[in-house]
């Protein structure tokens, strides 16, 4: 972690170096755009991108809005990058609709660009690499309902209302509930992806519902918040989260969290960067990779319990197999 911090400090120097000395034939510079520095998920994306770039002997430049998910900031970062002209861009829009004009600017500047994580509503991309929020919600909820024997009282803790990830995840939760007539949805309340808000919502819901058997949380931080509330009230329920963060893996290991849906940030970073570099080297790329959802449970957490720095990126041959389509 210490080294990583130094790397952030060294970023301006690297940037200067990258643009003063003309890159060698295989020393492409890939600009990687992520949404914020606060969500651990994007940290896994960045480590994946760096890992792949290093393997292929290219460089990355990280662009992260200082204010999380800031639309104007990402737009001005795009303006900067268009002037600096990296070899290619790996792009996560902070907002899938609002950033379309930004993507069009990149297209006009003829810089090849790969879309990862959130699918942009417009613009031309070499390739899309992402996970499917709907099936993540569906599969994690199915797993919880199966564990409960197809019955019980369920609550949903939603993320930020109207955000793409939340809409799809919650739709997945609800469809799993519809398949399970024995289960009863007691409430679907917002936690805004925040731990504290989820904890308080759970405390409040426990007051009006004497029996809660399952909690479907739209991300891991909220799942862990809900568990704190349950522990505080000496009550038990099966809880699932989404994202597969380190904290969630620890909670699965200790038996507090039933499961987490892996959003596969590391693989998204790896494959997005791989597609960008392959296209620069005139190698074939896969136009669309939608990673299969993995439900991380106490039976399969092993591979996810490895520090990010020690993980290895999938190969091009494996990439095709990882896709659900």
């Amino acid at each position: 972690m210490r080294q990583q911090k130094l790397a952030y400090l060294a970023l301006p120097l690297l940037m200067a170096a990258a643009f003063t000395s003309e890159a060698r034939a295989d020393g492409e510079t890939i600009a990687v755009f992520t949404k914020n520095q606060t969500n651990p998920f994007f940290q896994t994306v960045r480590v994946g991108a760096d890992n792949m770039a290093k393997t292929l002997n290219a460089k990355t430049l990280q662009y992260i809005p200082t204010k999380p998910d800031s639309i104007p900031e990402q737009l001005s970062q795009i303006e900067d990058v268009v002037v600096k002209k990296p070899s290619a861009i790996v792009f996560t829009p902070v907002d899938y609709k609002a950033m379309v004009p930004g993507v069009e600017k990149i297209n006009e500047a003829k810089i090849p660009v790969v879309n990862i994580t959130d699918r942009s509503a417009g613009g031309k991309f070499l390739s899309f690499v992402g996970a499917d929020d709907y099936s993540l919600g569906l599969e994690t909820a199915r797993f919880l309902l199966k564990t409960l024997g197809g019955k019980g009282n369920i609550v949903i803790i939603e993320g930020v209302k109207g955000s793409l990830t939340n809409v799809d995840r919650v739709r997945g939760f609800n469809d799993a509930l519809k398949e399970t007539p024995g289960a009863k949805l007691l409430a679907s309340q917002p936690g805004n992806y925040q731990r504290l808000q989820a904890l308080q919502v759970m405390e409040n819901l426990m007051q009006s519902n004497s029996q809660i058997d399952g909690v479907l949380a739209a991300n891991d931080a909220m799942a862990v918040g809900a568990i704190e509330a349950l522990d505080g009230a000496n009550r038990k329920a099966q809880v699932i989260g989404i994202n597969g963060t380190k904290e969630a893996i620890d909670a699965i290991k200790s038996g507090k969290l039933l499961a987490s849906g892996d959003y596969n940030g590391f693989a998204q970073g790896c494959l997005g960067t791989m597609m960008a570099i392959r296209s620069l080297r005139n190698q074939p790329v896969i136009a669309e990779i939608v990673l299969k959802p993995t439900v991380i449970t106490k039976d399969n957490f092993g591979p996810f319990d490895v520090p990010l720095e020690q993980r290895t990126c999938p190969t091009f041959e494996e990439a095709g197999k990882l896709s659900a389509k």
Binding site: K5, T66, K67, S188, Q200, N204, Q207
Partner: protein
């Protein structure tokens, strides 16, 4: 000017003044909300739920109580939430590294206090308007916290330490005791001490306050330092209640704290308001969210209702004040 004595500038504030009337209105509003919720939901008046509401209101109150003093001087501290985030992350690291909760608590309080002091220096020595100084500080703190955490989450703290935020004593949550203690200290300080009276005087008329011999810069420094230290205290409660710290907690804490101060009847123009009013303000905000959770009000309505209540409270306040004058 020589015959203007300190006493003449500041008639002693009796608690049965306009402030008391304003507090009375607010208590009435809170009781009204309670009555409505008690009718609508069977579980609202349960002891468990009342303790819930008090514990949830306490975190907002700790932040808002220090902020009240700042607003009384006609200032604003926009950095409180970001201060909580940085203090929590640093205190959490100290506890992890040293294994000593006591050291962690001291570090958290010190970190919060130092940030507050820096705000005070900017406002007094550099004469930067508090709104701008603390807004700048918000960015500085966010930057430091994001860099320091690098997308990671700190979690898992000793059971003893967890008692502060989640434990009970004689059936009451420990944060509720702290709430009562700081409510008492805050009220006594503001209403019964010379320093408190001087703070009101500065807010009412800074020029008159200076001419009547009040050391304005020193009182302002104190006020900002107290606000920062209370953010430090909130960070400790946060850590111990949620068992974790992450970089993005700040944003969700600042606005509710400001709202609590305003709903509580403290004027943004300074000189008018009480710490007790702020407590009622935090209570009203919490009650509304608690009620909507209990009644399973759709997620879309929650921010809308909260917003309307803030606007309504400030409007009613201005209306009743005008009549009183």
């Amino acid at each position: 000017m020589t015959d203007i004595t300190k006493e003449a500038m500041m008639p002693p504030r009796s608690f049965l003044s306009q402030d008391a009337i304003q507090v009375f209105y607010r208590l009435l509003a809170a009781l009204l909300i309670c009555a409505v919720l008690a009718v609508l939901s069977d579980s609202f008046l349960s002891l468990g739920n009342i303790l819930n509401v008090l514990r949830q209101a306490s975190l907002t109150f700790f932040i808002a109580s220090g902020l009240t003093l700042v607003v009384l001087t006609a200032g604003l501290d926009l950095s409180v939430g970001a201060n909580v985030a940085l203090s929590a992350c640093i205190a959490g690291t100290v506890i992890h590294k040293t294994g000593s909760p006591a050291l962690g608590i001291l570090t958290g309080l010190a970190c919060g206090g130092i940030v507050g002091l820096l705000n005070g220096v900017m406002v007094t020595a550099l004469r930067i308007p508090s709104f701008i100084a603390t807004y700048g500080m918000l960015w500085v703190l966010n930057g430091l916290t994001y860099w320091y955490m690098a997308g990671e989450t700190l979690h898992g703290f000793p059971a003893g330490f967890r008692q502060i935020g989640s434990g009970y004593l004689f059936g009451l949550p420990i944060p509720v005791y702290l709430l009562l203690v700081f409510l008492g200290i805050g009220t006594l300080f503001a209403q019964r001490t010379i320093w408190g009276q001087e703070i009101y005087a500065i807010g009412a008329n800074p020029v008159a306050a200076r001419l009547s011999g009040i050391p304005v810069p020193r009182r302002l420094l104190l006020v900002y330092a107290v606000s920062g230290t209370m953010a430090g205290l909130a960070s400790i409660i946060f850590l111990s209640r949620l068992n974790s710290a992450e970089a993005d907690i700040g944003e969700s804490l600042t606005l509710p704290a400001i709202a609590a101060v305003l709903i509580g009847g403290t004027s943004l123009f300074g000189g008018v308001g009480t710490v007790f009013g702020t407590f009622i303000g935090a209570l009203i905000l919490t009650l509304v969210l608690n009620g909507m959770n209990l009644l399973s009000v759709s997620a879309n309505w929650q921010p809308l209702v909260t917003g309307i209540i803030v606007i309504l409270a400030v409007w009613l306040d201005m209306k009743t004040r005008r009549r009183a004058q």
